[in-house]
């Protein structure tokens, strides 16, 4: 009995070792691959002064707090004989249709390409052999433990040697959003790689550790090189994206339309300037793209290379089609789409549910092409106003997107700007038909949906994170999902009703008018550079007719009064003319007067002899 009890105790300890082995290896892997899994504030170097928790001492390797996602997997109760397969997934947005075969999700504007760059298999291979003796098992589990300590060390080192580590570091170190993101999936089964994928991959098997009735093994299949993915991060964008933002979106996005082959996204504001060989215009802003990228692990769009198809920043573009239609679209679309809409504003973010962002995408695209010019206005306007930026800048999640604040203000009137923006958008509902900036209004109507969607996305993240063995776990934080909140911060000061008639519409507000004028003028003028666009904008604002009328009349009047004072016969001269003319005339009269007076004096003098 005793013997059996001992065996059971020993086996219980062994099971504990196996369970901890699985969770520790998962911790090591995720900690070095998935940036989002790290709790905030955790730095690479563990604080020496922090007392080490007991459970962190397993395998004599202190890693810090275990992410909640790992706890959720509940290793204590899972079937230990099941392999734990961890897929490290590189998420990129690629507009190229040739990647279609690899698409896992299709978004309206862009397509997410998820590529498994590493596959780790950690398992306890159960080999039923002779039932272990007591003494044997006691010694063997200690040996197993010792060897697994060494194995954990080499796993930790190996994580830093494989190519994916550089990608991870790029994301971590970049203050702005990256073009890509890394996510993970944990499951007990996996889809085998295709042949071409396998050819690009290498594998490494750690030497298995003998264990009672089996062995512990870790193996990895990894992509030998990630150079194909053009992973870039923009680290050069300063926080004051606004200044950059103002100019660029205006001109380029429009150009993008004709060239966007897919028509997938109307806007393709390039999320990041990085890879777009084609146009700098699409490189917009880092401001747009970057912020979104960091919003959520999944959604972080890769504004990668083909900026043209970036959805993000041109939300308006998407909205260009008649508001009614568009609004309907949005209303009919799932919350996912609407969230994506938000994303678009900020940058090509991908909401947790792949935004089919322009949910009905294609028809909109064509429209967008035609109406690109006005679309950019809202962007420009946004860029101009620093207030849009301020609420967001403080948000740690944000990355340079001015208007977005991932956890921010929600859709409540807490920020005045956003509230006013919302109000404006609502007012504009009546003016929707066929106007370029109606897109903006659509945007706002979409905001409502987005708002609703927020809860869903939050839920979604919850579901994702709590993954047990057969489930797929996505790393994502709910706070990042709330892009729709960003819309709130997004002010659309210049909601323009009608793009074509720049003078007539003062419907919503003066801003709107200016916006339309601005749009047409700006886009036509400042095509090349931001500076030019800024200059054009300033010029437009300065020369806006309503503000100038009074002042323009000012000088003639003043000159007129002068004339009246001086010369009786000035009435004939009351024509608008310059003061200098009047002064000259005055001088002429003076001379005549003097002449006459002098003549009369001489006559008098002559008469008095």
């Amino acid at each position: 009995m005793d013997l059996q009890g001992n065996v059971q105790v020993e086996y219980g300890r062994f099971e504990q070792i196996v369970s901890q082995f699985l969770s520790k290896s998962l911790h090591i892997i995720l900690d070095s691959r998935v940036p989002s899994i790290r709790p905030f504030g955790r730095s690479g170097d563990l604080l020496l002064s922090t007392p080490v928790k007991k459970r962190d001492k397993w395998f004599n390797l202190v890693l810090g707090d275990r992410p909640a996602a790992i706890d959720n997997l509940n290793f204590g109760h899972r079937n230990l004989a099941e392999p734990m397969i961890i897929d490290i997934v590189l998420v990129q947005e690629v507009p190229d249709s040739s990647y279609e075969h690899r698409l896992t999700t299709t978004l309206g504007l862009g397509k997410y390409v998820e590529t498994v760059i590493e596959r780790w298999v950690v398992q306890y291979e159960y080999i039923r052999t002779v039932f272990p003796q007591v003494g044997e098992s006691s010694a063997s589990y200690k040996k197993t433990y010792k060897k697994s300590i060494i194995l954990m060390r080499s796993l930790y080192s190996m994580m830093r040697l494989l190519p994916a580590y550089r990608a991870f570091r790029k994301i971590c170190s970049s203050t702005q959003a990256s073009d890509f993101d890394i996510n993970y999936k944990v499951s007990s089964f996996s889809v085998p790689f295709s042949r071409e994928e396998e050819e690009a991959m290498k594998s490494y098997n750690f030497i298995p550790i003998d264990a009672p009735q089996g062995r512990l093994s870790i193996s990895v299949t990894y992509r030998a090189s990630l150079s194909d993915f053009n992973l870039e991060t923009s680290t050069s964008f300063p926080p004051q994206i606004i200044t950059d933002y103002v100019g660029s979106p205006a001109t380029d996005p429009f150009r993008a339309f004709p060239s966007s082959e897919k028509g997938v996204s109307a806007t393709s504001f390039p999320l990041r300037g990085v890879q777009s060989p084609s146009s700098t215009p699409f490189h917009r802003p880092h401001s747009w793209t970057s912020g979104l990228h960091k919003i959520s692990p999944l959604t972080q769009p890769l504004s990668g290379s083909p900026p043209v198809h970036r959805q993000s920043t041109m939300p308006y573009d998407c909205l260009s089609p008649p508001t009614n239609t568009y609004g309907h679209r949005y209303q009919n679309s799932t919350h996912h789409r609407t969230t994506s809409f938000d994303e678009h504003q900020l940058s090509p973010p991908f909401s947790p549910s792949p935004p089919t962002y322009l949910s009905g995408g294609n028809p909109l695209k064509t429209r967008m092409h035609s109406e690109t010019a006005p679309m950019s206005i809202p962007c420009l306007m946004m860029g101009r106003s620093p207030r849009y930026l301020s609420p967001n800048l403080s948000d740690p999640n944000r990355h340079s997107l001015p208007p977005l604040s991932p956890r921010s203000t929600k859709y409540d009137p807490s920020s005045q700007d956003s509230a006013s923006g919302i109000r404006l958008s609502r007012k504009s509902d009546s003016l929707r038909a066929g106007e370029l900036h109606s897109g903006m209004t659509n945007h706002y109507s979409a905001q409502k949906v987005l708002r609703d969607g927020k809860d869903d996305s939050g839920r979604f993240s919850g579901v994702l994170s709590s993954s047990s063995s057969p489930r797929i776990g996505f790393s994502r934080s709910s706070s990042r999902l709330s892009f729709q909140d960003d819309l709130d911060d997004f002010d659309f000061p210049f909601i323009v009703d009608d793009v074509d008639t720049s003078d007539s519409h003062s419907s919503q507000n003066l801003d709107g008018k200016k916006g339309s004028e601005f749009t047409s003028q700006v886009f036509s003028a400042a095509k090349k550079s931001q500076d030019a666009a800024v200059g054009a904008l300033v010029h437009v604002l300065r020369t806006a007719p309503p503000l100038r009328q009074d002042s323009s009349c000012y000088s003639p009047r003043s000159s007129k009064t002068e004339l009246e004072g001086e010369v009786d016969a000035a009435s004939q001269f009351f024509v608008p003319r310059k003061t200098s003319d009047a002064l000259e005339e005055l001088r002429g009269y003076k001379e005549m007067k003097d002449l006459l007076l002098s003549k009369s004096r001489t006559r008098v003098v002559v008469k008095e002899p």
């Binding site: 004599n60 060390r153 930790y156 040697l161």
Partner: protein, 217 residues
């Protein structure tokens, strides 16, 4: 236990690269052999895109740096092409031999790091016996340098892989882990004296010291 020996792949380094390369390799080996409780610390190399892991032990860092300084001095004094640095792990056993208690070192693992230091003299003050460096700042020289640098980075990566492989393959000879934090085993870093006769003589000396290889645990 046998004394397991690992000869690491030879690396072609320039003088200014010695420190980083040695730090990387020595710390990596020690990280895998410091089986007590450690708080790993990631360190990025400046010259290469490689990240290695340290144990987070300050004392260890100091010791390693001291040894690297000694090595660099040795390289300067003996500008032979091949230089070696040896990291050994041992256990101390007290042996009573003829009324004396002798502490005997039983080496159970040895690592040989082989460096081929380029002869081009670097800007080292005070060393006049180096020939003048004729560096042609042409494009070809720069290209060559970057090629060399890339090759060294690849080789260094290979060496690190080699360490991991060795550590994984040979586990049985590792003694039981004492209940210590950090570096749990006794170790020493030595610089074999003459590179010409290096390997064979050193091994022989060590074998004499350790005596008959015995099972340690």
């Amino acid at each position: 236990m046998n004394c397991e020996v690992c000869q690491l792949k030879e690396l072609e380094v320039e003088h200014f690269e010695i420190r980083e390369v040695l730090r990387c390799i020595l710390h990596t080996i020690l990280f895998h052999r410091a089986l007590g409780l450690v708080r790993p610390k990631d360190v990025d190399l400046e010259l290469f895109e490689i990240t290695y892991v340290q144990c987070g032990d300050v004392e260890l860092e100091k010791k390693i740096d001291e040894k690297i300084d000694q090595f660099i001095d040795r390289v300067e004094k003996h500008p032979n092409k091949k230089n070696q640095i040896c990291l050994s792990f041992y256990e101390e056993k007290k042996q009573a031999v003829w009324f004396t208690n002798r502490v005997e070192r039983l080496y159970w693992e040895q690592w040989y790091i082989n460096l081929n230091v380029a002869q081009q003299p670097k800007s080292h003050s005070g060393k006049s016996h180096y020939s003048k460096v004729v560096v042609d700042p042409g494009e070809s020289a720069l290209e060559e340098r970057s090629h060399r640098r890339a090759a060294l980075e690849a080789s260094l990566r290979e060496v690190l892989f080699q360490i991991i492989k060795f550590v994984n393959e040979k586990k049985d000879h590792v003694p039981p882990i004492p209940n210590l934090e950090g570096v749990s085993f006794l170790y020493e870093i030595t610089i074999p004296s003459s590179s010409d006769s290096a390997f064979g003589m050193d091994m022989f000396k060590r074998m004499l010291q350790t005596g008959h290889p015995t099972m340690l645990s």
